[in-house]
Protein backbone atom coordinates (compact mmCIF):
# COMPACT_ATOMS: atom_id res chain seq x y z
CA UNK A 1 0.00 0.00 0.00
CA UNK A 2 1.29 3.43 -0.91
CA UNK A 3 1.88 5.87 1.86
CA UNK A 4 -0.69 8.37 0.72
CA UNK A 5 -3.60 5.95 0.65
CA UNK A 6 -2.44 4.60 4.02
CA UNK A 7 -2.56 8.12 5.41
CA UNK A 8 -5.95 8.80 3.88
CA UNK A 9 -7.36 5.57 5.21
CA UNK A 10 -6.30 6.19 8.80
CA UNK A 11 -6.27 9.96 9.05
CA UNK A 12 -9.59 9.98 10.89
CA UNK A 13 -8.35 7.62 13.59
CA UNK A 14 -5.27 9.73 14.20
CA UNK A 15 -7.25 12.93 14.36
CA UNK A 16 -9.67 11.32 16.78
CA UNK A 17 -6.77 10.33 19.03
CA UNK A 18 -5.29 13.82 18.83
CA UNK A 19 -8.63 15.27 19.89
CA UNK A 20 -8.99 12.80 22.76
CA UNK A 21 -5.50 13.74 23.95
CA UNK A 22 -6.34 17.43 23.80
CA UNK A 23 -9.37 17.01 26.07
CA UNK A 24 -7.75 14.48 28.39
CA UNK A 25 -9.29 15.91 31.56
CA UNK A 26 -12.56 14.17 30.72
CA UNK A 27 -12.74 10.59 31.88
CA UNK A 28 -14.47 8.99 28.91
CA UNK A 29 -11.64 9.99 26.61
CA UNK A 30 -9.40 7.37 28.22
CA UNK A 31 -11.74 4.56 27.15
CA UNK A 32 -11.59 5.84 23.61
CA UNK A 33 -7.82 5.98 23.83
CA UNK A 34 -7.46 2.38 24.92
CA UNK A 35 -9.23 1.14 21.79
CA UNK A 36 -7.49 3.47 19.41
CA UNK A 37 -4.15 2.82 21.03
CA UNK A 38 -3.96 -0.74 19.71
CA UNK A 39 -4.82 0.50 16.22
CA UNK A 40 -2.16 3.17 16.48
CA UNK A 41 0.47 0.62 17.50
CA UNK A 42 -0.42 -1.43 14.46
CA UNK A 43 -0.17 1.59 12.20
CA UNK A 44 3.22 2.54 13.58
CA UNK A 45 4.53 -1.01 13.15
CA UNK A 46 3.24 -1.12 9.58
CA UNK A 47 4.66 2.29 8.74
CA UNK A 48 8.07 1.24 10.02
CA UNK A 49 8.00 -2.11 8.27
CA UNK A 50 6.94 -0.55 4.96
CA UNK A 51 9.62 2.13 5.31
CA UNK A 52 7.16 4.98 4.98
CA UNK A 53 8.78 8.32 5.16
CA UNK A 54 10.33 9.56 8.37
CA UNK A 55 7.89 12.40 9.04
CA UNK A 56 4.94 10.02 9.13
CA UNK A 57 6.78 7.60 11.40
CA UNK A 58 7.79 10.45 13.69
CA UNK A 59 4.24 11.70 13.87
CA UNK A 60 2.83 8.25 14.70
CA UNK A 61 5.65 7.63 17.18
CA UNK A 62 5.03 10.84 19.10
CA UNK A 63 1.29 10.20 19.03
CA UNK A 64 1.77 6.67 20.36
CA UNK A 65 4.17 7.95 23.02
CA UNK A 66 1.62 10.49 24.23
CA UNK A 67 -1.22 7.97 24.35
CA UNK A 68 1.06 5.50 26.13
CA UNK A 69 2.01 8.07 28.76
CA UNK A 70 -1.66 8.95 29.14
CA UNK A 71 -2.77 5.34 29.61
CA UNK A 72 -0.09 4.54 32.16
CA UNK A 73 -0.21 7.80 34.06
CA UNK A 74 -0.53 8.05 37.81
CA UNK A 75 -4.09 7.54 38.96
CA UNK A 76 -5.01 9.69 41.90
CA UNK A 77 -5.68 7.68 45.04
CA UNK A 78 -5.77 4.33 43.31
CA UNK A 79 -2.39 2.94 44.35
CA UNK A 80 -1.74 3.99 47.91
CA UNK A 81 -3.69 2.59 50.84
CA UNK A 82 -2.58 4.32 54.02
CA UNK A 83 -3.81 1.66 56.43
CA UNK A 84 -2.30 -1.21 54.53
CA UNK A 85 0.92 0.79 54.46
CA UNK A 86 0.87 1.41 58.21
CA UNK A 87 -0.20 -2.10 59.17
CA UNK A 88 1.77 -4.12 56.74
CA UNK A 89 4.11 -2.50 54.25
CA UNK A 90 6.20 -0.36 56.58
CA UNK A 91 6.87 -3.08 59.23
CA UNK A 92 7.59 -5.53 56.43
CA UNK A 93 10.08 -3.13 54.87
CA UNK A 94 11.81 -2.81 58.26
CA UNK A 95 11.91 -6.59 58.64
CA UNK A 96 13.39 -7.08 55.18
CA UNK A 97 16.19 -4.62 55.96
CA UNK A 98 16.78 -6.06 59.45
CA UNK A 99 20.52 -6.61 59.01
CA UNK A 100 21.01 -3.08 57.81
CA UNK A 101 18.86 -1.79 60.67
CA UNK A 102 21.09 -3.72 63.08
CA UNK A 103 24.30 -2.30 61.60
CA UNK A 104 22.82 1.21 61.52
CA UNK A 105 21.79 0.89 65.16
CA UNK A 106 25.30 -0.10 66.15
CA UNK A 107 26.86 2.67 64.07
CA UNK A 108 24.62 5.14 65.83
CA UNK A 109 24.69 3.72 69.37
CA UNK A 110 28.35 2.79 69.82
CA UNK A 111 29.82 6.23 69.10
CA UNK A 112 27.01 7.65 71.23
CA UNK A 113 27.77 5.38 74.19
CA UNK A 114 31.52 5.78 73.96
CA UNK A 115 31.44 9.55 73.68
CA UNK A 116 28.71 9.72 76.32
CA UNK A 117 30.75 7.79 78.87
CA UNK A 118 33.94 9.63 77.97
CA UNK A 119 32.29 13.05 78.34
CA UNK A 120 30.63 11.92 81.58
CA UNK A 121 33.99 10.95 83.07
CA UNK A 122 36.20 13.69 81.66
CA UNK A 123 35.19 17.26 82.40
CA UNK A 124 36.91 18.74 79.37
CA UNK A 125 36.11 16.09 76.80
CA UNK A 126 32.95 17.88 75.72
CA UNK A 127 35.07 20.68 74.26
CA UNK A 128 36.66 18.35 71.75
CA UNK A 129 33.21 17.67 70.34
CA UNK A 130 31.61 21.12 70.50
CA UNK A 131 32.92 24.65 70.84
CA UNK A 132 32.36 26.76 73.95
CA UNK A 133 29.30 28.79 72.80
CA UNK A 134 27.55 25.57 71.78
CA UNK A 135 28.26 23.99 75.16
CA UNK A 136 26.99 27.06 76.99
CA UNK A 137 23.88 27.06 74.82
CA UNK A 138 23.11 23.42 75.62
CA UNK A 139 23.69 24.03 79.33
CA UNK A 140 21.32 27.00 79.34
CA UNK A 141 18.59 25.05 77.53
CA UNK A 142 18.40 22.36 80.17
CA UNK A 143 19.38 24.29 83.29
CA UNK A 144 16.90 23.27 86.03
CA UNK A 145 17.28 26.73 87.60
CA UNK A 146 15.86 28.32 84.49
CA UNK A 147 13.02 25.80 84.49
CA UNK A 148 12.68 26.31 80.79
CA UNK A 149 12.69 23.06 78.92
CA UNK A 150 14.17 22.49 75.51
CA UNK A 151 14.42 25.64 73.53
CA UNK A 152 11.66 28.09 74.58
CA UNK A 153 8.15 28.12 75.69
CA UNK A 154 5.19 30.04 74.32
CA UNK A 155 2.61 28.46 72.05
CA UNK A 156 3.81 30.72 69.24
CA UNK A 157 7.30 29.42 69.73
CA UNK A 158 5.94 25.88 69.65
CA UNK A 159 4.58 26.41 66.14
CA UNK A 160 7.84 27.91 65.01
CA UNK A 161 9.85 25.06 66.47
CA UNK A 162 7.51 22.53 64.84
CA UNK A 163 8.31 24.01 61.44
CA UNK A 164 11.99 24.10 62.30
CA UNK A 165 12.11 20.48 63.50
CA UNK A 166 10.33 19.26 60.37
CA UNK A 167 12.75 21.13 58.13
CA UNK A 168 15.85 20.18 60.05
CA UNK A 169 15.18 16.59 61.13
CA UNK A 170 13.58 15.24 57.98
CA UNK A 171 16.32 17.01 56.03
CA UNK A 172 18.96 15.17 58.08
CA UNK A 173 17.19 11.84 57.52
CA UNK A 174 16.98 12.46 53.76
CA UNK A 175 20.67 13.34 53.56
CA UNK A 176 21.51 10.30 55.66
CA UNK A 177 19.66 8.12 53.13
CA UNK A 178 21.09 9.82 50.05
CA UNK A 179 24.64 9.64 51.39
CA UNK A 180 24.37 5.87 51.08
CA UNK A 181 24.76 6.19 47.34
CA UNK A 182 28.44 7.04 47.88
CA UNK A 183 29.14 3.40 48.73
CA UNK A 184 27.51 3.96 52.12
CA UNK A 185 30.15 6.42 53.31
CA UNK A 186 27.81 9.42 53.54
CA UNK A 187 25.39 7.44 55.70
CA UNK A 188 28.20 6.18 57.87
CA UNK A 189 29.37 9.72 58.58
CA UNK A 190 25.89 11.11 59.30
CA UNK A 191 25.03 8.22 61.64
CA UNK A 192 28.30 8.30 63.57
CA UNK A 193 28.40 12.08 63.80
CA UNK A 194 24.83 12.27 65.12
CA UNK A 195 25.50 9.44 67.57
CA UNK A 196 28.64 11.16 68.78
CA UNK A 197 26.93 14.52 69.14
CA UNK A 198 23.81 13.28 70.93
CA UNK A 199 25.92 10.99 73.14
CA UNK A 200 28.22 13.80 74.26
CA UNK A 201 25.33 16.15 75.01
CA UNK A 202 23.68 13.43 77.11
CA UNK A 203 26.98 12.66 78.85
CA UNK A 204 27.69 16.29 79.59
CA UNK A 205 24.23 17.04 80.96
CA UNK A 206 24.33 13.88 83.08
CA UNK A 207 27.64 15.11 84.50
CA UNK A 208 25.94 18.34 85.48
CA UNK A 209 23.05 16.24 86.89
CA UNK A 210 20.41 17.98 84.74
CA UNK A 211 18.64 14.63 84.56
CA UNK A 212 14.97 15.54 84.72
CA UNK A 213 15.13 18.55 82.44
CA UNK A 214 17.04 16.72 79.74
CA UNK A 215 15.74 13.16 79.78
CA UNK A 216 12.09 14.05 80.31
CA UNK A 217 12.42 16.39 77.34
CA UNK A 218 13.97 13.93 74.91
CA UNK A 219 12.38 10.64 75.92
CA UNK A 220 9.04 10.94 74.12
CA UNK A 221 9.98 12.29 70.73
CA UNK A 222 13.25 10.38 70.86
CA UNK A 223 11.25 7.18 70.46
CA UNK A 224 10.24 8.31 66.99
CA UNK A 225 13.15 10.53 66.04
CA UNK A 226 16.09 8.29 66.94
CA UNK A 227 14.40 5.22 65.48
CA UNK A 228 13.65 7.07 62.26
CA UNK A 229 17.25 8.26 61.99
CA UNK A 230 18.42 4.66 62.42
CA UNK A 231 15.94 3.54 59.72
CA UNK A 232 17.16 6.20 57.32
CA UNK A 233 20.68 5.02 58.08
CA UNK A 234 19.62 1.45 57.30
CA UNK A 235 18.11 2.63 54.02
CA UNK A 236 21.33 4.45 53.15
CA UNK A 237 23.44 1.41 54.00
CA UNK A 238 21.20 -0.81 51.86
CA UNK A 239 21.74 1.57 48.95
CA UNK A 240 25.49 1.58 49.51
CA UNK A 241 25.56 -2.20 49.76
CA UNK A 242 23.72 -2.47 46.45
CA UNK A 243 26.49 -0.38 44.88
CA UNK A 244 29.36 -2.29 46.50
CA UNK A 245 27.99 -5.80 46.11
CA UNK A 246 25.47 -6.12 43.26
CA UNK A 247 25.41 -9.93 43.53
CA UNK A 248 23.89 -11.57 40.44
CA UNK A 249 22.71 -8.25 38.96
CA UNK A 250 24.56 -5.53 37.15
CA UNK A 251 25.35 -2.56 39.34
CA UNK A 252 22.60 -0.31 38.06
CA UNK A 253 19.85 -2.95 38.28
CA UNK A 254 21.03 -3.80 41.76
CA UNK A 255 20.75 -0.13 42.72
CA UNK A 256 17.27 0.12 41.22
CA UNK A 257 16.06 -2.99 43.03
CA UNK A 258 17.37 -1.59 46.32
CA UNK A 259 15.75 1.80 45.71
CA UNK A 260 12.38 0.19 44.94
CA UNK A 261 12.59 -1.91 48.11
CA UNK A 262 13.30 1.18 50.17
CA UNK A 263 10.39 3.36 49.07
CA UNK A 264 7.99 2.19 51.86
CA UNK A 265 10.78 2.73 54.37
CA UNK A 266 11.19 6.32 53.16
CA UNK A 267 7.47 7.03 53.52
CA UNK A 268 7.61 5.58 57.03
CA UNK A 269 10.61 7.71 57.99
CA UNK A 270 8.81 10.87 56.86
CA UNK A 271 5.76 9.85 58.91
CA UNK A 272 7.76 9.06 62.05
CA UNK A 273 9.74 12.30 61.91
CA UNK A 274 6.54 14.31 61.44
CA UNK A 275 5.12 12.68 64.58
CA UNK A 276 8.40 13.34 66.37
CA UNK A 277 8.35 17.01 65.39
CA UNK A 278 4.79 17.34 66.69
CA UNK A 279 5.70 15.79 70.01
CA UNK A 280 8.94 17.72 70.34
CA UNK A 281 7.27 21.06 69.67
CA UNK A 282 3.99 20.70 71.55
CA UNK A 283 4.53 18.02 74.20
CA UNK A 284 8.19 17.68 75.14
CA UNK A 285 8.69 21.41 75.62
CA UNK A 286 5.63 21.83 77.82
CA UNK A 287 6.38 22.87 81.40
CA UNK A 288 2.82 22.19 82.58
CA UNK A 289 3.04 18.41 82.22
CA UNK A 290 4.67 16.77 85.29
CA UNK A 291 7.97 15.03 84.73
CA UNK A 292 6.60 11.66 85.86
CA UNK A 293 3.87 11.78 83.21
CA UNK A 294 6.47 12.55 80.58
CA UNK A 295 8.59 9.58 81.61
CA UNK A 296 5.56 7.27 81.58
CA UNK A 297 4.28 8.42 78.20
CA UNK A 298 7.79 8.47 76.77
CA UNK A 299 8.51 4.96 77.98
CA UNK A 300 5.21 3.78 76.53
CA UNK A 301 6.07 5.35 73.19
CA UNK A 302 9.41 3.53 73.15
CA UNK A 303 7.72 0.20 73.88
CA UNK A 304 5.10 0.76 71.18
CA UNK A 305 7.61 1.91 68.57
CA UNK A 306 9.85 -1.08 69.27
CA UNK A 307 6.97 -3.58 69.15
CA UNK A 308 5.83 -1.98 65.92
CA UNK A 309 9.32 -2.11 64.43
CA UNK A 310 9.54 -5.83 65.13
CA UNK A 311 6.03 -6.60 63.86
CA UNK A 312 6.92 -7.13 60.21
CA UNK A 313 8.06 -10.73 60.27
CA UNK A 314 4.60 -12.30 60.10
CA UNK A 315 3.92 -10.63 56.74
CA UNK A 316 6.97 -12.15 55.06
CA UNK A 317 5.86 -14.86 52.67
CA UNK A 318 7.77 -18.12 52.85
Amino acid sequence: MKQQSFEQQHRQTWERIEQALAQRKQTESSILLADDYMLLCQHLALAKQRLYDITLIERLNSLALNVYRELYRYQRGSRFNFFSFLWRQFPLAIYRQRYFVLVATLLFLLPGLISGIWVYLDEFAIYSVMDTPQVRNVEQMYDPEARKLGRERESDTDVMMFGFYIMNNIGVAFRCFAGGLLAGIGTLLVLMFNGLHIGSVAGHLSRLEYFDTFYSFVITHGAFELTAIVFSGAAGLRLGYAVINPGPFNRISSLQIAARELIPLLYGIILMLTIAAFIEAFWSSSTVIPVSVKYTVGGLCWVLVLIYSFSGKRFESR
Binding site: Y52, T55, Y72, M160, L182
Partner: protein, 226 residues
Protein backbone atom coordinates in the same frame (compact mmCIF):
# COMPACT_ATOMS: atom_id res chain seq x y z
CA UNK B 1 26.21 10.25 23.41
CA UNK B 2 25.82 11.66 19.91
CA UNK B 3 22.77 9.62 19.07
CA UNK B 4 20.26 10.64 21.71
CA UNK B 5 17.54 8.31 20.47
CA UNK B 6 16.25 6.04 23.20
CA UNK B 7 14.16 3.02 22.25
CA UNK B 8 11.82 1.13 24.54
CA UNK B 9 9.64 -1.81 23.66
CA UNK B 10 6.17 -1.28 25.04
CA UNK B 11 3.21 -3.62 25.65
CA UNK B 12 1.63 -2.54 22.37
CA UNK B 13 4.20 -4.77 20.72
CA UNK B 14 6.09 -1.90 19.17
CA UNK B 15 9.24 0.02 19.85
CA UNK B 16 8.74 3.64 20.82
CA UNK B 17 11.46 6.18 20.29
CA UNK B 18 12.21 9.20 22.42
CA UNK B 19 15.02 11.72 22.54
CA UNK B 20 16.90 11.86 25.83
CA UNK B 21 17.89 15.30 27.02
CA UNK B 22 21.41 16.35 27.94
CA UNK B 23 22.80 18.38 30.84
CA UNK B 24 22.30 21.93 29.51
CA UNK B 25 18.50 22.01 29.06
CA UNK B 26 18.14 20.16 32.33
CA UNK B 27 20.35 22.66 34.09
CA UNK B 28 18.37 25.55 32.61
CA UNK B 29 15.13 23.94 33.76
CA UNK B 30 16.63 23.53 37.22
CA UNK B 31 17.77 27.16 37.30
CA UNK B 32 14.29 28.30 36.31
CA UNK B 33 12.73 26.17 39.03
CA UNK B 34 15.23 27.52 41.51
CA UNK B 35 14.15 31.05 40.63
CA UNK B 36 10.48 30.16 41.02
CA UNK B 37 11.20 28.54 44.38
CA UNK B 38 13.16 31.60 45.47
CA UNK B 39 10.28 33.90 44.54
CA UNK B 40 7.81 31.71 46.44
CA UNK B 41 9.98 31.82 49.57
CA UNK B 42 10.57 35.58 49.37
CA UNK B 43 6.88 36.34 48.85
CA UNK B 44 6.02 34.01 51.71
CA UNK B 45 8.53 35.58 54.06
CA UNK B 46 7.01 39.01 53.36
CA UNK B 47 3.48 37.67 53.81
CA UNK B 48 4.42 36.00 57.11
CA UNK B 49 5.87 39.10 58.79
CA UNK B 50 2.57 40.05 60.52
CA UNK B 51 2.21 36.56 62.00
CA UNK B 52 5.42 36.61 64.04
CA UNK B 53 6.68 33.29 65.31
CA UNK B 54 3.73 31.30 63.97
CA UNK B 55 4.55 32.75 60.58
CA UNK B 56 8.17 31.70 61.01
CA UNK B 57 7.04 28.15 61.77
CA UNK B 58 4.90 28.09 58.64
CA UNK B 59 7.83 29.48 56.68
CA UNK B 60 10.11 26.65 57.83
CA UNK B 61 7.42 24.14 56.94
CA UNK B 62 6.90 25.54 53.45
CA UNK B 63 10.67 25.83 52.96
CA UNK B 64 11.00 22.13 53.74
CA UNK B 65 8.18 21.21 51.37
CA UNK B 66 9.50 23.41 48.58
CA UNK B 67 13.07 22.18 49.02
CA UNK B 68 12.27 18.49 48.89
CA UNK B 69 8.82 18.04 47.37
CA UNK B 70 8.49 20.79 44.75
CA UNK B 71 9.96 18.58 42.01
CA UNK B 72 8.25 15.42 43.29
CA UNK B 73 4.73 16.85 43.31
CA UNK B 74 5.09 18.47 39.90
CA UNK B 75 6.64 15.40 38.34
CA UNK B 76 3.88 13.12 39.63
CA UNK B 77 0.86 15.33 39.10
CA UNK B 78 1.90 17.43 36.11
CA UNK B 79 3.07 14.76 33.63
CA UNK B 80 6.68 14.63 34.69
CA UNK B 81 7.15 18.36 34.31
CA UNK B 82 8.08 21.02 36.82
CA UNK B 83 7.38 24.53 35.51
CA UNK B 84 11.03 24.78 34.49
CA UNK B 85 10.93 21.48 32.60
CA UNK B 86 7.67 22.47 30.96
CA UNK B 87 9.23 25.67 29.66
CA UNK B 88 12.14 23.70 28.22
CA UNK B 89 9.81 21.05 26.76
CA UNK B 90 11.34 18.18 28.70
CA UNK B 91 9.76 15.57 30.94
CA UNK B 92 10.74 12.86 33.42
CA UNK B 93 9.69 9.29 32.56
CA UNK B 94 10.55 5.76 33.67
CA UNK B 95 13.00 3.90 31.47
CA UNK B 96 10.05 2.07 29.88
CA UNK B 97 8.72 5.55 28.99
CA UNK B 98 5.78 5.32 31.43
CA UNK B 99 5.10 8.40 33.58
CA UNK B 100 6.97 8.57 36.90
CA UNK B 101 5.26 7.33 40.04
CA UNK B 102 5.51 8.97 43.44
CA UNK B 103 8.06 6.46 44.67
CA UNK B 104 10.54 6.80 41.83
CA UNK B 105 10.18 10.56 41.75
CA UNK B 106 10.89 10.65 45.50
CA UNK B 107 14.01 8.52 45.07
CA UNK B 108 15.43 10.55 42.19
CA UNK B 109 14.81 13.82 43.99
CA UNK B 110 16.15 12.70 47.39
CA UNK B 111 19.33 11.50 45.73
CA UNK B 112 19.66 14.95 44.16
CA UNK B 113 21.81 15.95 47.16
CA UNK B 114 24.42 13.37 46.11
CA UNK B 115 24.34 14.54 42.50
CA UNK B 116 24.95 18.05 43.77
CA UNK B 117 28.23 17.01 45.43
CA UNK B 118 30.93 18.25 45.66
CA UNK B 119 29.43 21.42 44.23
CA UNK B 120 27.13 22.56 41.43
CA UNK B 121 25.99 19.07 40.38
CA UNK B 122 29.50 17.95 39.44
CA UNK B 123 28.87 14.31 40.33
CA UNK B 124 25.54 14.40 38.49
CA UNK B 125 27.24 15.86 35.43
CA UNK B 126 29.95 13.20 35.46
CA UNK B 127 27.31 10.50 35.78
CA UNK B 128 25.30 11.98 32.88
CA UNK B 129 28.32 12.05 30.63
CA UNK B 130 29.26 8.48 31.54
CA UNK B 131 26.08 6.82 30.27
CA UNK B 132 24.21 7.00 26.99
CA UNK B 133 20.95 8.09 28.52
CA UNK B 134 22.20 11.21 30.32
CA UNK B 135 21.05 9.85 33.67
CA UNK B 136 22.34 11.43 36.84
CA UNK B 137 22.87 9.18 39.87
CA UNK B 138 19.32 9.76 41.14
CA UNK B 139 17.97 8.76 37.73
CA UNK B 140 20.06 5.60 37.72
CA UNK B 141 18.73 4.53 41.11
CA UNK B 142 15.12 5.41 40.35
CA UNK B 143 15.22 4.02 36.81
CA UNK B 144 14.11 7.29 35.26
CA UNK B 145 15.27 9.45 32.38
CA UNK B 146 14.48 12.87 30.99
CA UNK B 147 13.12 13.01 27.45
CA UNK B 148 12.17 15.77 25.08
CA UNK B 149 8.43 16.19 24.58
CA UNK B 150 8.58 19.09 22.15
CA UNK B 151 5.89 19.10 19.54
CA UNK B 152 7.30 17.93 16.22
CA UNK B 153 6.73 20.32 13.35
CA UNK B 154 4.57 18.86 10.64
CA UNK B 155 6.16 19.22 7.21
CA UNK B 156 4.33 21.34 4.67
CA UNK B 157 3.71 19.40 1.52
CA UNK B 158 4.77 20.97 -1.73
CA UNK B 159 2.15 22.32 -4.07
CA UNK B 160 0.88 19.68 -6.43
CA UNK B 161 3.64 17.72 -8.13
CA UNK B 162 2.64 15.41 -10.93
CA UNK B 163 3.79 11.86 -10.23
CA UNK B 164 6.26 10.24 -12.55
CA UNK B 165 6.91 6.52 -12.74
CA UNK B 166 10.67 5.88 -12.57
CA UNK B 167 12.27 4.07 -15.47
CA UNK B 168 13.60 1.31 -13.19
CA UNK B 169 11.97 -0.06 -10.07
CA UNK B 170 13.78 1.31 -7.00
CA UNK B 171 14.37 -0.71 -3.86
CA UNK B 172 12.56 0.25 -0.70
CA UNK B 173 15.31 2.34 0.81
CA UNK B 174 15.69 4.29 -2.42
CA UNK B 175 11.93 4.81 -2.49
CA UNK B 176 12.04 6.22 1.02
CA UNK B 177 14.85 8.54 0.01
CA UNK B 178 12.73 9.89 -2.86
CA UNK B 179 9.72 10.51 -0.63
CA UNK B 180 11.90 12.15 2.01
CA UNK B 181 13.38 14.42 -0.63
CA UNK B 182 9.89 15.51 -1.66
CA UNK B 183 8.81 16.13 1.93
CA UNK B 184 11.90 18.07 2.87
CA UNK B 185 11.96 20.17 -0.30
CA UNK B 186 10.34 23.12 1.42
CA UNK B 187 13.08 23.18 4.05
CA UNK B 188 16.11 22.97 1.74
CA UNK B 189 17.51 25.87 -0.25
CA UNK B 190 17.23 25.75 -4.03
CA UNK B 191 20.98 25.52 -4.54
CA UNK B 192 21.29 22.59 -2.13
CA UNK B 193 18.40 20.82 -3.83
CA UNK B 194 20.21 21.22 -7.16
CA UNK B 195 23.36 19.86 -5.59
CA UNK B 196 21.58 16.86 -4.08
CA UNK B 197 19.71 16.12 -7.26
CA UNK B 198 22.87 16.24 -9.38
CA UNK B 199 24.21 13.21 -7.51
CA UNK B 200 21.73 11.24 -9.57
CA UNK B 201 22.65 12.91 -12.87
CA UNK B 202 23.81 9.64 -14.35
CA UNK B 203 20.44 8.06 -13.61
CA UNK B 204 17.88 10.75 -14.39
CA UNK B 205 19.63 12.36 -17.37
CA UNK B 206 17.44 15.42 -16.77
CA UNK B 207 18.30 18.99 -17.73
CA UNK B 208 19.54 21.29 -14.97
CA UNK B 209 16.24 22.95 -14.09
CA UNK B 210 14.35 19.67 -14.36
CA UNK B 211 16.60 17.64 -12.08
CA UNK B 212 14.92 18.60 -8.83
CA UNK B 213 11.43 18.33 -10.24
CA UNK B 214 12.09 14.86 -11.65
CA UNK B 215 13.13 13.56 -8.25
CA UNK B 216 10.16 15.20 -6.58
CA UNK B 217 7.82 13.63 -9.14
CA UNK B 218 9.31 10.21 -8.51
CA UNK B 219 8.86 10.85 -4.79
CA UNK B 220 5.23 11.74 -5.38
CA UNK B 221 4.79 8.50 -7.36
CA UNK B 222 6.08 6.45 -4.46
CA UNK B 223 4.03 8.45 -2.00
CA UNK B 224 1.02 7.19 -3.92
CA UNK B 225 -0.10 10.34 -5.73
CA UNK B 226 -1.92 9.44 -8.92
Amino acid sequence: MLDTTYRAEIPGGIELEAQVVGPLPRFLAFALDLMIRGVIMIVLSLAMIPFGLVGAGLWFLVFFLVEWFYPVLFEVFARGQTPGKKTLGISVVHDDLTPVTFGSSLVRNLLRVVDFLPLMYLLGLISMICNQRFQRLGDLAAGTLVISVKKTIKPRLLEEVKPLAPAVELNRHEQTAMVDFLHRSSQISAARKQELASILDGVTHAADEDKVLTLQRIGAWYLGVR
